[in-house]
């Protein structure tokens, strides 16, 4: 039963991830709330499984010609530095604080998504 839930949550996160909507924002709360994973563990699982999925998704998107590489090198370059900073910062905080911060972040994102959906 638990294994079934693991796979189900994984597929749900993967579909949104492949769409480029952010699979982690679905997968992490599902894992922490329903399976009782520690926040850091579900973040780590999300990161690694995203990497594997992204390789396949990128191949498909490149074939469809949806990837535009113009100018993204600047975003990636600074993103690389600050993602290391962010990951190290997460290491210093206890999982409980991280969990609450992530909850706030999710609420903010969902409000933005609602605004975007209903504006168009």
């Amino acid at each position: 039963m638990t294994i079934f839930l693991y796979v189900l949550f994984g597929v749900m996160g993967g579909v949104f991830g492949g769409l480029g909507m952010g699979g982690g924002t679905i997968l992490i709360p599902l894992l922490t709330i329903f399976l009782g994973f520690e926040q850091k563990l579900s973040q780590g699982i999300n990161l690694i499984s995203f990497l594997v999925m992204a390789i396949i998704a990128l191949i498909i998107h490149f074939k469809n010609g949806y990837v535009s590489t113009k100018g993204i090198i600047y975003i990636i370059a600074s993103g690389l530095v600050f993602s290391a900073v962010g990951a190290l910062m997460a290491g210093f905080l206890p999982s409980k604080v991280l969990r609450m911060a992530f909850g706030g972040f999710l609420c903010l994102l969902s409000v933005i998504e609602f605004i975007k959906v209903f504006k168009k």
Partner: protein, 167 residues
Amino acid sequence: MKTESHVNSTSAVKLSKAILKNDIKIFRAWTSHLGTCYHFVKLKKNKLSGWKGKCTLILSGAVIGLLNGFFGGGGGMVCVPILEKVLSLDQKHSHATAIAVIFPISLISAFIYIFKGYLETFPLCVVGAGVVVGGVIGSFALKFLPPKALRIIFALIMLAGGIKLLL
């Protein structure tokens, strides 16, 4: 003599029609090419050339990287609107490009998470397999764009999860 000229005139008409058709094709290709050139020039002039555009890109990279490293995900959610605004990409392109941006960024933070040992092998393998299967479905589905209903469900799950995690 008379018939010959008649034949000639019809073949001339056919020929000119063919040329016209071909011209229209060439003209269309040419205008679409001009269109992309125009788009390219506009993009280059307004958004990317000069320090202001580059600073915007670098700053947005910093925000995306910090959030993605700290929360281990969700960078894509922030990346899509930034790509739409700053690089003026359409919805499909910004969603696909967001994955290309997040991939190298996640690679770095994944190394740190592995190094610090925030992982367990069994759930990783099972959940990871699910994510890969879902990812393939999602990638093919991008052709049809995420429909409104799906986006509302997505936002609702996020909101519910966010509130639950906060409490």
